[in-house]
């Protein structure tokens, strides 16, 4: 059974690591908060467990160990076991019946001053369809979400690609080693209304206007010729209209 395995005996595969305080990518003005999370502890580890059963009753066993690095940026490494032959077969069976592959992590806090009460009771669980895990050849992305205080509030797993097309995975080797990307995501600080740049821009506009003498002129100064022309035209038309009346008078 999976539970009988001893961590030290198995080959640990250090999978890829990275990415913290995840870039909010194209986020327009998502300025990162300057609030420093002052932590200087030397890291700790928590188990990452998984479960895949044909009868869909979760029985969790150890998948690997999450190692957190302290410091300003939460580094996380995942040391995980290879899947045994039996597990591989089970996983394929579960995939065949469209079962679920679940993972769970205990609720922990990554914050230094909470080390004493770091581990709250309870787990955070999530799932992915077993078939998509098989079809992606065990390449998954696990993300741990923390709240503002550094407490892990949620975990998510996706496989890339995420679809289930019913492709048979022949090669046993493809199902041995997890190719996992793991990251910790802290909440993004939402932007506040940006008054300073706006005012600056307005001032610049005003300055530009001030420099340009053309803009500063009054309405009459700018369009005097149009007004004059219009007035002349009006006068001309009104004087042109008078003759008929006069003519009638004469007749």
């Amino acid at each position: 059974m999976a539970t009988m395995r001893v961590l030290s005996l198995i080959l640990s595969v250090l999978s890829s690591v990275t990415l913290l305080w995840t870039q909010s990518g194209e986020c327009n003005n998502g300025r990162r908060s300057g609030e420093a999370v002052d932590t200087d502890f030397s890291g700790f580890s928590v188990p990452l467990e998984h479960s895949f059963e044909v009868d869909d009753v979760p029985r969790f066993s150890l998948r690997g160990v999450l190692q957190f690095r302290g410091g300003r940026e939460h580094g996380v490494y995942l040391a995980q076991n290879q899947l045994s032959e039996k597990d591989r077969n089970t996983l394929k069976d579960v995939a065949a019946v469209d079962g679920l592959y679940r993972i769970r992590v205990p609720r922990v806090s990554l914050q230094a001053d909470r080390q004493t009460e770091r581990q709250a009771e309870g787990y955070l669980t999530t799932f992915v369809r077993a078939c998509s895990l098989v079809e992606s050849h065990l390449s998954d992305v696990i993300t741990l979400h923390t709240d503002v205080s550094g407490c892990v509030v949620g975990v998510s797993i996706v496989t890339i690609p995420g679809s289930c097309r019913g492709i048979e995975v022949e090669d046993e080797v493809d199902l041995e080693v997890f190719n996992t990307t793991i990251s910790v995501v802290a909440p993004v600080t939402a932007p506040v209304p940006e008054t300073a740049p706006y005012i600056e821009r307005m001032e610049q506009e005003m300055e530009k206007k001030g420099k340009n003498p053309q803009e500063q002129k009054s309405f009459f100064a700018k369009y005097w010729y149009l007004i004059l022309g219009g007035a002349v035209f009006l006068m001309a038309t009104s004087s042109a209209q008078t003759p008929p009346g006069g003519a009638r008078e004469q007749s």
């Binding site: 869909d56 955070l124 503002v148 509030v153 949620g154 996706v158 995420g162 600080t189 940006e194």
Partner: protein, 967 residues
Amino acid sequence: MAWLVVRLAISVSLLYTASAVFEDQVGKFDWRQQFIGKVRFALFDTHSQASKKLLVATDKNVFASLNSRTGDLFWRHVDKIGPEGHIDALLMYGQDAVVVTGNGRLLRSWETTVGGLKWETVLDTGSFQAAALVGVQDFVKYVAVLKKSAISLHDLSSGSQIWVENLPDSDTVQYQTIYSGGNGLVFVFGVVPNSHIVIVEYKIEDGEIMRKKSVEAAWMSSLESSCTVISSGILLCVDQITQSLYTLQLQSAEQTEIRQIHLQTLDLEVASGFQPVLTSTQPNPAQPPLSEFFLQLSPDHHILLQLKDGLIAPLRDFNPSYLAAFATSGERTVAAVMSPKNDTACSINLFSADTGRRHLDTTIIYHMDPNGGKPNRLYVHAFLKKDDSVGYRVMVQTEDLTLTFLQQPGRVVWVREEALADVVTMEMVDLPFTGTQAELEGEFGKKAAIQDGLLPMVLKRLSSQFILLQAWLAHLWKLFYDARKPRSSVKNEVTIDTLSRDEFNLQKMMVMVTASGKLFGIDSKSGTILWKQYLENIQPDSVFKLIVQRTTAHFPHPPQCTLLIKNKDTGLGNLYVFNPIFGKKSQISVPALPRPVLQTLLLPVIDQDYAKVLLLIDDQYKVTAFPSTKNVLQQLQDTASSIFFYLVDSSQGKLSGFRLRKDLSTELIWEVVIPTEVQKIVAIKGKRANEHVHSQGRVMGDRSVLYKYLNPNLLAVITESTDTHQERSFVGIFLIDGVTGRIVHEAVQRKARGPVHFVHSENWMVYVYWNSKFRRNEFSVLELFEGAELYNSTVFSSLDRPHPPQVLQQSYIFPAPISTLEATLTEKGITSRHLLVGLPSGNILSLPKMFLDPRRPEVVSEQSREENLIPYAPEMPIREEWFINYNQTVSRIRGIHTAPSGLESTCLVVAYGLDIYQTRVFPSKQFDVLKDDYDYVLISSVLFGLFFATMISKRLAEVKLLNRAWR
């Protein structure tokens, strides 16, 4: 130059979105109804015979004057919500109404004709006990206010305080009532429960204590409910346990013993478990009360008694009788008593108070609404007729908060449905087709028709055509008939029989659920109440959820709505199924819900009768399906693995996801826990099920497409920090996929505080919070995009969308507080969206979503101009012409409901609070409707003219050609 272009762009975009009502459109497709709430005090203006005023003060902290002839409001003052604006007492004398509000905080005097404030006095602190008018020598000059530990006297004409005195031993004695009989003294009654009564006598001029005595009364626990003053200063009390009446002479120094009169000696008995009630009347505050009084012995037994020469004698026994009340007109005091007549009607009769004799021809028959509640309050307005006899009108308030005003011989003058002042939830349901439309629908709708064969189909077709012809002829005849009649007499009233869907489905049935448990069906076009149904035995703080299970689209099956009524404390719920068009209770058997309901889920799965399946999840995560026919269960088994739902436990900060199993049990599949020490979940919202998104992406300035992240399972979770310090408080925003539990986005708005209002729709979410640092309201908008490429353009599955969306966010200052927030909704989602912002001022602002676009650029570029993006400005404008309800403000706006109409340009809006306002909005103007002032004559004359011109010129050309050929 660039700046000019920018301004031009802004003004053009504003021109595009500007939408205001023209003066001649006022009231054309909108209406407002104003309410007051449950009446606590009602006083008729008896000052003059012709007065139509009825002053009311209600539990919604509203003080208003009603026109007693029509039931309309003369004026209305809406005070603050909660105990601060609570109206403690209402007294009236002449033209003045004196109101004590806010647990004795303010004393106000109002002019009753126009509702103007005459004066206002701030009272000393202390919880309010009682207030009374005090008269001296037949003139009412003062008002006395009794607090827990002090009594104060104020001048009635100016409000100035004459004197204030502390009450003796106020820490042990509970002072509760006050009495003045116009003899220069004010009596204050206090009680030490189960020990003795304390009576303190104050001199009106200077507040000097004239006398203080205490009387043994071991049986007494509270004065307020069981004691009253009658005759010339005799305190009368009743006690249920000893089954006795007690009398005490107030002004005699000798009598320190209370006199006990056994009810048995009067051949009376109080019903067990009933607290007897004494009702006396003091027609003029400057004179002592009458010596007659009512004693209520059981819920339906009153007796009129009289105290004469120290002896109590019954004048008349009213058994059975529901309600009794005194009224005075001039010198005559009468008593009105409501007694049951038969199962559906009550009769109200007038009796003279001093003899108990019945006045002839004074019966008013009150018909009880079979769908309403029992009457529980009776207010009588007596007046003297020309022949010097007493006439009267009554206002009856029922349990379901209906005010009915009746006059002899039982004519209902007006009815007000005050339950509508507290609408909890509502839905808008399409009206059914007319008979002919339904006939056609039936012909093509039924699958059986296909099997009928050719000939029956032809016959059917002919018959339905014939019916149509018949209907058309009838319509023509009606038009002709109506045209001959003067216009005013043509009635266009909406009744439940003439209800039918209009051409553009603009008229709908508004199904409203009120806090008192009364349901209403209101025609959205006119605001007429078409049906009402009172559900009895509803707990006062129940939670309601209204679900439309079957719409009108499935003729001949009637539409079906289900109301889940849930007890807030126990969580136990029950279902009420009804037809939303006619308000009739459905005969469908409803599943019993023995366990608390945690969550409801309306599935798109339909049974053979086209009713959508409702899943109810109880606290053991067991699922009950309704309807639960075999067909439904089979369908559920087939689709079980794709049915997911979520539960929220905000006390533990836990969000959990479940999947349905084939045997209707569930399995936990994901869990997210937000620690409650840091933040608590305050609100959670998914997207509306009837929302359509027309375009999958947005075309950018460079002609590429930015695809929207349109996840129908996305939940927006709002949290607030437990730390309320202004520097450390924050609002958390979690966007969580409801199927996989994946946190799609997590953001923190720092230095922010609730209350948070938000709208979650399409690929965006807008929320409003209070910025505690800058002390202002701010809007923030989040938009989610998949990027330049779609992962899977054909179908969205939460299980197969591995890439996280790009999130754009921007914030703006909003220069006003906000009561509620909603977004417009249209049939196909082509029309641009507007946000409807309910302001505490009662206005509803229609704010174009265009202004809440996180892609608004800080610096204008060619591309952003191409895209029609408005340059970023930190402050959100509020324009008066954006107020969709012009001057028809909605007091205490609590919710806005939007519904699509048959026209893509038009969205129906109902705002409810203390008032109800219904209107239509056109976020992209009426692009699919001809204007009201469209010139049909001109266009048709031009068309005809052109037609004839071509005909004539063709003829002429032919003639000319012929002539030329001959030449």
